[in-house]
Amino acid sequence: MAYNILIVDDSGAMRSVIKRTVEMSGIEVGQYYQADSGKTALETLEKEWIDLVLTDINMPEMNGIEMIEHMAANGLLSSIPVIVVSTEASKTRIKQLKEKGVKGYVHKPFTPEQISNEITKVIGVCHAGND
Protein backbone atom coordinates (compact mmCIF):
# COMPACT_ATOMS: atom_id res chain seq x y z
CA MET A 1 0.00 0.00 0.00
CA ALA A 2 1.26 3.47 -0.89
CA TYR A 3 0.67 6.18 1.71
CA ASN A 4 -0.25 9.79 1.01
CA ILE A 5 1.80 11.90 3.41
CA LEU A 6 1.22 15.51 4.46
CA ILE A 7 4.30 17.33 5.79
CA VAL A 8 3.49 20.47 7.83
CA ASP A 9 6.32 22.84 8.75
CA ASP A 10 6.77 26.57 8.22
CA SER A 11 10.36 25.89 7.12
CA GLY A 12 10.54 24.91 3.46
CA ALA A 13 14.05 23.59 4.06
CA MET A 14 12.80 21.32 6.85
CA ARG A 15 9.89 20.06 4.71
CA SER A 16 12.44 19.12 2.04
CA VAL A 17 14.61 17.34 4.62
CA ILE A 18 11.66 15.35 6.01
CA LYS A 19 10.49 14.44 2.48
CA ARG A 20 13.99 13.26 1.56
CA THR A 21 14.22 11.26 4.79
CA VAL A 22 10.91 9.53 4.11
CA GLU A 23 12.06 8.77 0.54
CA MET A 24 15.25 7.20 1.90
CA SER A 25 13.33 5.10 4.42
CA GLY A 26 11.86 2.84 1.75
CA ILE A 27 8.26 3.52 2.82
CA GLU A 28 6.01 3.38 -0.22
CA VAL A 29 4.56 6.85 -0.76
CA GLY A 30 1.75 7.63 -3.19
CA GLN A 31 1.73 11.40 -2.99
CA TYR A 32 3.50 14.00 -0.86
CA TYR A 33 1.60 17.10 0.19
CA GLN A 34 3.16 20.06 1.99
CA ALA A 35 1.76 22.88 4.13
CA ASP A 36 3.48 25.80 5.84
CA SER A 37 0.99 26.21 8.70
CA GLY A 38 -1.76 24.37 10.51
CA LYS A 39 -4.32 26.42 8.57
CA THR A 40 -3.06 25.40 5.12
CA ALA A 41 -2.68 21.82 6.37
CA LEU A 42 -6.38 21.71 7.34
CA GLU A 43 -7.29 23.06 3.88
CA THR A 44 -5.27 20.24 2.31
CA LEU A 45 -6.84 17.67 4.63
CA GLU A 46 -10.32 18.82 3.57
CA LYS A 47 -9.48 18.35 -0.12
CA GLU A 48 -7.10 15.39 -0.33
CA TRP A 49 -6.93 11.83 0.96
CA ILE A 50 -4.11 11.79 3.51
CA ASP A 51 -2.90 8.66 5.32
CA LEU A 52 -0.28 10.20 7.61
CA VAL A 53 0.55 13.71 8.86
CA LEU A 54 4.04 14.75 9.96
CA THR A 55 3.81 18.13 11.66
CA ASP A 56 5.86 20.74 13.44
CA ILE A 57 4.38 22.53 16.45
CA ASN A 58 5.87 26.02 16.45
CA MET A 59 4.39 27.67 13.33
CA PRO A 60 2.84 31.05 12.56
CA GLU A 61 -0.84 31.58 11.72
CA MET A 62 -2.02 28.27 13.22
CA ASN A 63 0.38 26.15 15.24
CA GLY A 64 0.54 22.36 15.27
CA ILE A 65 -1.38 21.95 18.54
CA GLU A 66 -4.33 23.98 17.21
CA MET A 67 -4.26 21.94 14.00
CA ILE A 68 -4.28 18.66 15.99
CA GLU A 69 -7.21 19.92 18.08
CA HIS A 70 -9.16 20.76 14.90
CA MET A 71 -8.40 17.30 13.52
CA ALA A 72 -9.48 15.63 16.76
CA ALA A 73 -12.80 17.48 16.65
CA ASN A 74 -13.52 16.39 13.08
CA GLY A 75 -14.84 12.84 12.70
CA LEU A 76 -13.05 12.00 9.46
CA LEU A 77 -9.78 13.75 10.23
CA SER A 78 -9.53 12.37 13.75
CA SER A 79 -8.63 8.92 12.41
CA ILE A 80 -5.57 10.15 10.47
CA PRO A 81 -2.39 9.31 12.40
CA VAL A 82 -0.23 12.31 13.32
CA ILE A 83 3.48 12.27 14.10
CA VAL A 84 4.89 15.44 15.64
CA VAL A 85 8.38 16.46 14.47
CA SER A 86 9.41 19.28 16.76
CA THR A 87 12.03 20.83 19.00
CA GLU A 88 9.56 20.53 21.89
CA ALA A 89 11.15 18.39 24.62
CA SER A 90 8.98 18.92 27.69
CA LYS A 91 7.57 15.61 28.92
CA THR A 92 4.47 17.49 30.11
CA ARG A 93 3.78 18.85 26.63
CA ILE A 94 4.56 15.54 24.88
CA LYS A 95 2.10 13.82 27.22
CA GLN A 96 -0.51 16.48 26.38
CA LEU A 97 0.08 15.89 22.66
CA LYS A 98 -0.44 12.15 23.08
CA GLU A 99 -3.64 12.83 25.03
CA LYS A 100 -4.83 14.85 22.03
CA GLY A 101 -4.34 11.78 19.82
CA VAL A 102 -0.80 12.20 18.50
CA LYS A 103 0.58 8.76 17.61
CA GLY A 104 4.30 9.47 17.42
CA TYR A 105 6.93 12.01 18.32
CA VAL A 106 10.35 12.83 16.83
CA HIS A 107 12.57 15.41 18.48
CA LYS A 108 14.56 17.84 16.30
CA PRO A 109 17.40 17.53 15.48
CA PHE A 110 16.62 14.05 14.22
CA THR A 111 18.49 11.37 12.33
CA PRO A 112 16.90 9.74 9.25
CA GLU A 113 16.58 6.51 11.26
CA GLN A 114 14.50 8.20 13.95
CA ILE A 115 11.99 9.48 11.38
CA SER A 116 11.72 6.18 9.51
CA ASN A 117 11.48 4.15 12.75
CA GLU A 118 8.66 6.33 14.05
CA ILE A 119 6.74 6.19 10.76
CA THR A 120 7.12 2.41 10.60
CA LYS A 121 5.97 2.12 14.21
CA VAL A 122 2.94 4.36 13.71
CA ILE A 123 1.88 2.83 10.40
CA GLY A 124 2.31 -0.61 11.93
CA VAL A 125 0.27 0.35 14.97
CA CYS A 126 -2.46 1.78 12.75
CA HIS A 127 -2.53 -1.36 10.60
CA ALA A 128 -2.86 -3.46 13.73
CA GLY A 129 -5.71 -1.23 14.90
CA ASN A 130 -7.54 -1.52 11.57
CA ASP A 131 -7.17 -5.27 11.18
Partner: protein, 153 residues
Protein backbone atom coordinates in the same frame (compact mmCIF):
# COMPACT_ATOMS: atom_id res chain seq x y z
CA UNK B 1 27.42 31.46 35.76
CA UNK B 2 28.52 33.33 32.64
CA UNK B 3 30.83 30.49 31.60
CA UNK B 4 28.09 27.92 32.17
CA UNK B 5 25.62 29.88 30.06
CA UNK B 6 28.19 30.26 27.29
CA UNK B 7 29.02 26.54 27.39
CA UNK B 8 25.34 25.63 27.24
CA UNK B 9 24.63 27.63 24.11
CA UNK B 10 27.85 26.58 22.36
CA UNK B 11 27.19 22.91 23.10
CA UNK B 12 23.59 23.22 21.95
CA UNK B 13 24.56 24.96 18.70
CA UNK B 14 27.31 22.40 18.09
CA UNK B 15 24.88 19.50 18.53
CA UNK B 16 22.27 21.12 16.28
CA UNK B 17 24.87 21.78 13.56
CA UNK B 18 26.32 18.28 13.70
CA UNK B 19 22.97 16.50 13.59
CA UNK B 20 21.19 18.77 11.13
CA UNK B 21 23.99 19.71 8.80
CA UNK B 22 27.04 17.51 9.54
CA UNK B 23 28.97 20.72 10.30
CA UNK B 24 31.45 21.17 13.14
CA UNK B 25 31.72 24.22 15.39
CA UNK B 26 35.16 24.93 16.84
CA UNK B 27 36.77 27.82 18.69
CA UNK B 28 38.43 29.98 16.00
CA UNK B 29 42.19 29.51 15.71
CA UNK B 30 42.58 32.88 14.06
CA UNK B 31 40.23 35.73 13.35
CA UNK B 32 38.28 34.93 10.21
CA UNK B 33 37.39 37.75 7.81
CA UNK B 34 34.07 39.19 8.88
CA UNK B 35 31.22 38.69 6.42
CA UNK B 36 30.14 41.72 4.42
CA UNK B 37 26.56 40.44 4.15
CA UNK B 38 25.08 38.71 7.14
CA UNK B 39 21.81 37.54 8.66
CA UNK B 40 20.79 37.66 12.32
CA UNK B 41 18.17 35.19 13.50
CA UNK B 42 16.64 35.01 16.94
CA UNK B 43 14.12 33.02 18.93
CA UNK B 44 12.69 33.90 22.34
CA UNK B 45 11.60 31.48 25.05
CA UNK B 46 9.45 31.92 28.13
CA UNK B 47 9.10 29.55 31.06
CA UNK B 48 10.91 28.88 34.34
CA UNK B 49 13.72 30.86 32.69
CA UNK B 50 13.08 33.30 29.86
CA UNK B 51 15.45 34.63 27.28
CA UNK B 52 16.61 34.79 23.71
CA UNK B 53 18.98 32.86 21.45
CA UNK B 54 20.60 34.82 18.61
CA UNK B 55 22.78 33.59 15.75
CA UNK B 56 24.63 35.73 13.23
CA UNK B 57 26.23 34.30 10.11
CA UNK B 58 27.40 35.49 6.72
CA UNK B 59 25.43 34.71 3.58
CA UNK B 60 28.16 32.29 2.41
CA UNK B 61 27.73 30.30 5.63
CA UNK B 62 23.97 30.29 5.16
CA UNK B 63 24.36 28.81 1.66
CA UNK B 64 26.72 26.11 2.95
CA UNK B 65 24.38 25.35 5.85
CA UNK B 66 21.36 25.08 3.54
CA UNK B 67 23.22 22.84 1.10
CA UNK B 68 24.25 20.52 3.93
CA UNK B 69 20.83 20.47 5.58
CA UNK B 70 19.04 19.74 2.31
CA UNK B 71 21.70 17.49 0.80
CA UNK B 72 22.09 19.67 -2.30
CA UNK B 73 24.94 21.48 -4.02
CA UNK B 74 25.84 24.99 -2.81
CA UNK B 75 25.27 26.22 -6.38
CA UNK B 76 21.72 24.88 -6.37
CA UNK B 77 19.22 27.75 -6.47
CA UNK B 78 17.46 26.32 -3.38
CA UNK B 79 20.66 26.76 -1.36
CA UNK B 80 20.15 30.48 -1.95
CA UNK B 81 16.37 30.75 -1.84
CA UNK B 82 15.92 28.70 1.33
CA UNK B 83 19.02 29.92 3.18
CA UNK B 84 17.27 32.23 5.67
CA UNK B 85 14.65 29.54 6.19
CA UNK B 86 17.38 27.00 7.04
CA UNK B 87 19.12 29.47 9.35
CA UNK B 88 15.85 30.09 11.21
CA UNK B 89 15.50 26.33 11.57
CA UNK B 90 19.03 26.18 13.01
CA UNK B 91 18.20 28.72 15.74
CA UNK B 92 14.91 26.91 16.41
CA UNK B 93 16.69 23.56 16.74
CA UNK B 94 19.49 25.06 18.85
CA UNK B 95 16.86 26.43 21.24
CA UNK B 96 15.19 23.02 21.28
CA UNK B 97 18.47 21.39 22.32
CA UNK B 98 19.20 24.13 24.85
CA UNK B 99 15.94 24.26 26.82
CA UNK B 100 16.03 20.72 28.27
CA UNK B 101 19.59 21.48 29.43
CA UNK B 102 18.41 24.64 31.17
CA UNK B 103 15.36 22.99 32.72
CA UNK B 104 15.61 21.64 36.25
CA UNK B 105 13.09 18.90 35.37
CA UNK B 106 12.06 17.26 32.05
CA UNK B 107 8.46 18.16 32.90
CA UNK B 108 9.11 21.92 32.74
CA UNK B 109 7.30 23.70 29.93
CA UNK B 110 8.71 26.54 27.81
CA UNK B 111 6.86 28.56 25.19
CA UNK B 112 8.97 29.62 22.22
CA UNK B 113 8.33 32.26 19.57
CA UNK B 114 8.56 31.78 15.82
CA UNK B 115 12.16 32.59 14.72
CA UNK B 116 12.75 36.04 13.22
CA UNK B 117 15.46 37.11 10.77
CA UNK B 118 17.13 40.42 9.98
CA UNK B 119 19.50 40.94 7.04
CA UNK B 120 22.56 43.24 7.00
CA UNK B 121 24.17 44.26 3.72
CA UNK B 122 27.35 45.71 5.23
CA UNK B 123 29.84 44.80 7.95
CA UNK B 124 28.25 47.17 10.46
CA UNK B 125 25.65 44.56 11.41
CA UNK B 126 28.38 42.08 12.28
CA UNK B 127 30.49 44.65 14.14
CA UNK B 128 27.55 45.88 16.24
CA UNK B 129 26.42 42.38 17.20
CA UNK B 130 29.82 40.95 18.16
CA UNK B 131 30.64 44.06 20.24
CA UNK B 132 27.86 43.10 22.67
CA UNK B 133 28.41 41.18 25.91
CA UNK B 134 28.18 37.36 25.99
CA UNK B 135 28.72 36.90 22.25
CA UNK B 136 30.78 33.86 21.27
CA UNK B 137 32.30 33.59 17.81
CA UNK B 138 32.80 30.07 16.47
CA UNK B 139 34.47 28.63 13.41
CA UNK B 140 31.93 26.46 11.62
CA UNK B 141 33.64 24.66 8.73
CA UNK B 142 35.77 27.80 8.18
CA UNK B 143 32.85 30.23 8.38
CA UNK B 144 32.56 32.61 11.36
CA UNK B 145 29.28 32.32 13.24
CA UNK B 146 28.39 34.41 16.29
CA UNK B 147 26.01 33.19 18.98
CA UNK B 148 24.50 34.77 22.07
CA UNK B 149 22.19 33.53 24.81
CA UNK B 150 20.50 36.18 26.95
CA UNK B 151 18.45 35.13 29.93
CA UNK B 152 16.17 36.80 32.45
CA UNK B 153 15.01 34.91 35.53
Amino acid sequence: MLETTENLIVESLSEALETMAFMTAMPPEEEAPKPTQSVLVNIEFNGPTSGKVELLGGTDFLKALTANVMGIDEDDKEAQSKSIDAFKELVNTTCGVLLPRMASSPAEVFDVTVPQAREFDNTQGWDTFVAQENVTILDVDDYPVAVRLSTTE
